[in-house]
């Protein structure tokens, strides 16, 4: 059920295929403040935005070997905000000149009965976590600095435990397919965060 690489498909109509360009890194807890200060200086001027989200990852096992993965995310500190459903495709590898990880991305806002709907469709929850952190923007780039908390009792988002002593730092851009200069802008921005954080393209398959 995996879609073929998006850039090979003709645009025949319907929605534009959006790609997510991603660079990831991490920062230790004690250096978080310096990173936040630097980001506040580098990014667009706005009130520092924090978020507390609960993300659940659902799998649909089909006849094929690899299951279909959907991510459902809800905000725990903003009441009334819609749920966010996201599909992320396989990262397009092979182009060494591209500085960021690129994958197909579909984002949908949904109502609150998303989990029931997915269960009815046959999806089963594979794992979940709580993400708590800060959000910055620079133009179309989005920078998230957040800590991942493991949920000890399934469904109970109060009993959580931090996964590590670091914050995950993600620099992402969602743009239409084919705009590779985006990755150059991202790389230039990532340069400005060195040596505090090393943002790089990390292939998740390498970490399996």
């Amino acid at each position: 059920m995996e879609a073929p690489p998006v850039t090979m498909m003709p645009v025949t109509g319907g929605t534009i295929n959006m790609m997510e360009y991603l660079l990831q890194g991490s920062v230790l807890d004690h250096s978080l403040e310096s990173l936040i200060h630097r980001l506040r200086g580098l990014c667009d001027n706005m009130e520092p935005e924090t978020f507390l989200d609960h993300e659940m990852v659902f799998l649909l096992k089909g006849q094929q070997a690899s299951p279909f993965v959907l991510r459902a995310r809800r905000s725990m500190d903003r009441g009334g905000a819609p749920w966010h459903l996201r599909y992320l495709g396989q990262p397009e590898m092979g182009d060494k000149n591209r500085h960021a990880l690129v994958r197909n991305c579909v984002d949908i806002a949904t109502s609150e009965n998303l989990t029931d709907f997915l269960m009815e469709m046959g999806f089963r929850m594979d794992h979940e976590f709580v993400a708590k952190g800060h959000l910055f923007r620079k133009g179309i780039m989005k920078i998230m600095v957040y800590k991942i908390f493991r949920i000890l009792v399934p469904g109970n988002t109060d009993s959580t435990e931090a996964l590590s002593l670091s914050y995950l730092v993600e620099l992402s851009v969602v743009a239409p397919a084919g705009q590779d200069m985006v990755s150059d802008d991202m790389r230039n921005f990532a340069e400005q965060l060195k040596p505090l954080v090393h943002l790089e393209k990390i292939d998740p398959k390498r970490l399996m």
């Binding site: 890194g25 991490s26 230790l28 690899s66 794992h127 469904g155 590590s164 090393h198 990390i202 970490l207």
Partner: protein
């Protein structure tokens, strides 16, 4: 002779411009010291010194240039001394020397150093001659060695501080943590996707039951409860294999289960 004259002229011009530059930078440095002394920072003073030293260097280079004739061979003789104001001279010296007279000439055309300076120089040369060639050579060598040692130390410090080696405890990120976090977000490694034995729950992953996270020097490590794996958890064993491989604490019971498990970690 024509060529020599031209050379002389050209080198004189070069010398003049160099000296003018030097004078300007000296002037601005003095101004800075006199007027901005309360705001002056050491790097700014260093900058001025560096500028002066650079200019002196180029001046030396100009003098040593092969096209520069030996000025030593030239003699300057005053032809006419008059106590009257000389406008030309004023213009050329930017108003500093108004009169080419008997008082001005000895100072400006002097080639011998001051008597005190001459005394000191004579003293130094007699001292140097007294030491003897060998001892002098040894002293020169030891001075060179000390200078090179110092230079090496300074460059080493600079290199080390750039690479952050001087402050190992100030590392701001941990690559192992990065990998662990990326794996957690990408496919749930380390999150609630495996369960210990005995837990049930149709379709819902159970709690991990792992102990507290030990953050060792290498970053993230997980202490696993080595419970006897339950019968139908290929998911559990598959993932535990990956995690246990990371820590090297694989209990023997799990090995047997892996053989019976299906290949794919995600099947229920």
């Amino acid at each position: 002779v024509q060529r020599e004259e031209k050379q002389l002229e050209a080198s004189l011009d070069a010398l003049l411009s160099q000296v003018a530059d030097l004078k300007n930078s000296l002037g601005s440095f003095i101004y800075k010291l006199e007027n901005e002394y309360d705001r002056l920072t050491w790097p700014s003073v260093l900058d001025s010194f560096a500028l002066l030293s650079g200019q002196l260097n180029t001046l030396n280079k100009v003098l040593k240039h092969e096209k520069t004739p030996l000025f030593r061979n030239q003699v300057i003789i005053p032809l006419v001394l008059s106590p009257d104001r000389d406008e030309d001279l004023m213009r050329q010296t930017e108003g500093r020397v108004p009169v080419f007279s008997h008082e001005v000439v000895p100072d400006h055309l002097r080639t011998k150093p001051d008597p005190e300076v001459e005394e000191q120089e004579k003293q130094l040369t007699t001292d140097a001659a007294r030491i003897g060639a060998d001892a002098a050579q040894k002293q020169i060598q030891s001075l060179n060695k000390m200078c090179s040692n110092l230079l090496e130390k300074i460059s080493k410090e600079e290199r080390e501080s750039e690479s952050g080696g001087l402050r190992p405890n100030k590392q701001t990120f941990n690559p192992a943590d990065t990998n662990a976090l990326v794996a957690a977000v990408a496919f749930g490694k380390g999150l609630s996707n495996w369960r210990p034995s005995g837990s049930s729950g149709p379709g819902q992953p159970g709690q991990p039951g792992a102990g507290p996270i030990l953050a060792g020097a290498s970053g993230l490590q997980q202490v696993q409860m080595a419970g006897a794996p339950s019968q139908q958890q290929p998911l559990l064993s598959g993932v535990q294999m990956a995690q246990a491989g990371q820590t090297g604490k694989m209990p023997s019971g799990i090995k047997t289960n892996i053989k019976s498990a299906s290949m794919h970690p995600y099947q229920r």
